[in-house]
Amino acid sequence: MKHCEYQQIDPQALSTPTPTLPPQHAVVEEEKGETARRKWEVFPGKNRFYCDGRIIVAQQSGVLPLTLGLILVTTVLFFVFDCPFLLKHLTVFIPAIGGVLFVFVVISLLQTSFTDPGILPRATPDEAADIEKQIDNSGSSTYRPPPRTKEVMINQQVVKLKYCFTCKMFRPPRTSHCSLCDNCVERFDHHCPWVGNCVGKRNYRFFYTFIVSLSFLTVFIFGCVATHLALRAQGGRGLMFALQESPASAVELVICFFSVWSILGLSGFHTYLVASNLTTNEDIKGSWSGKSGAEDTGNPYSYNNIITNCCSVLCGPMPPSLIDRRGFMPVEESSQTVATEIELAAKNEINVCTQGTKDLLESASRSPCPQTGKPQTVSTSCPDSIDPADPAVTFNPAVTPDPVAVPSLKCGGRHHSHTTSPPDEPRQQHHHHNRHHKTRSTQSSSKRAALHISNPAYNVSLSPPTSPGLGPSHATGAEDHRRDSFAALH
């Protein structure tokens, strides 16, 4: 059974070389045997699970500890140093309101961080084979391989569905693949390092509650502290005297002053998005803002009514988690699917390698793409600007020589140093490189104020390229992966 389990993970290991098991459960793979495993233990994405699958977070918690810490510190200082004075001189409602806001902020933050954002489980090998068959059938007679997109009509508008090479399925509308978490997420908004998770369909309302209540809290604390200092400075004693008496207030003032602009800005931006039923991803890419000047390029998902839009986004039915973290792995299926998976694995490795290399070469030749202002950390990526019908870009299952001869090794590093995440196809090969995104986001925490003014997703794009410290581990990982891939070709 242990052998079967390892085999089962293997085809998915094309894209995720090492399954992300939390350390305390690493031994489960050894004992295996009769104990059925829960699905979260073999989850192919780069997420971590706690409490036996009840809590899900991204692989790197980003700056979540910092976010929590700042909120806690500021609020505790407020309650300890400012509240007693204000309670005595003003009203008891001040600490009460502060308390309620604080509770709201912390709960919504934790829910945003620990909830499954709407991850789509990857296609089973049979499904993937079926889709491949359909795609091949549709264009097998022509010399040109079929493009990996599908068009659907939504609300009298043509929407292109892309094929996700990592998850092996056509992405539903508004779904995007997050390279940091290596999952397709429904209604993908952005990956927020402050929260340490993707923001998608299921946790967008928590995220929105978080930023709105945090804005209120920040403004509230700022106002209260300013009042406190003003009251102390009354009678001609001056501000300096007030600050000397209550130095903690100065700290709070500074923190609040710098955060209030960015958080208020972010709340405003997201209120606009909610009212027009857009995602950050779509807004950045300008998917519906009439790029071609066509009049009917509007948002097909909008109800054209602000109230309806708000209600459907924030108060709509809460969809369930599709990845069923705590379900048990079906034992029979694992052995049955091993054979098909091994076959598929061989085929896919060839496809992945050639497609990956091909796309890397493409993107290498299009160097301006990743350096544009567009922060495409959310991996809908460079190939976006390419028309999928473009022959140079379409998927070719056979190995085709490409005019630009840049080896995949170099491209990984290249993608890495650029701010955008690599496109779908090469992501599988350069999976390890994504680790660097996280270091970058932690490095960028020092630029907090500036970062908050724009979308948090921009964090990754503002930070400097790879840290040398991670070089060795990254290199070995990537090498192993490449070795496996190339071995399959022989």
Binding site: I107, E127, I154, S312, P317, M318, L322, I323
Partner: protein
């Protein structure tokens, strides 16, 4: 003469001949809806009318789950007031309908599809992407259909 299989019998003994996938139909937007087009691989196995009826009922159930109306708004607002902690205690409307769907799929399998050597997989187990229909080898087909 074709033997009728029970659900358990099928799952334990019969060999899987092939799997047919019914994909999502996105033409009505993002709501969960599956294509009702009858797959050609099933032509010899099941009645077209019956199959389309099953798919239509399934689609209707999903539409009910995702319906945006007074009840769902109430649930949403209540959840917002309680900082979404209510989700820890209460089952959402969607989850209730999903249970209904699971019961429906099981019932359809037992009554209609298992005797024909087919097995419908609840779409939630495939991430609401496809309806997977497992076609089992029907070794006992005599005259055949």
């Amino acid at each position: 003469m074709a033997e009728t299989h029970s659900l358990q019998e099928l799952q334990q003994q019969a060999a899987v001949a092939s799997k047919v996938y019914v994909q999502r139909d996105y033409n009505s937007g993002k709501i969960c809806k599956f294509q009702t087009k009858f797959p050609s691989e099933l032509e010899s196995r099941v009645d077209k009318q019956q199959f389309e009826e099953t798919m239509q009922t399934l689609n209707n159930l999903y539409a009910e789950a995702e319906k945006i109306g007074g009840k769902s708004y109430l649930e949403g607002c209540l959840a917002c007031m309680t900082a979404y902690t209510i989700f820890l205690c209460m089952e959402t409307h969607y989850e209730k309908v999903l249970k209904k769907i699971a019961r429906f799929v099981k019932e359809q399998n037992e009554k209609i599809y298992a005797p024909l050597g087919l097995l419908l997989t609840d779409p939630i187990e495939r991430g609401l992407r496809v309806v997977e229909i497992t076609v089992f080898e029907d070794r006992s087909i005599g005259a055949g259909r």
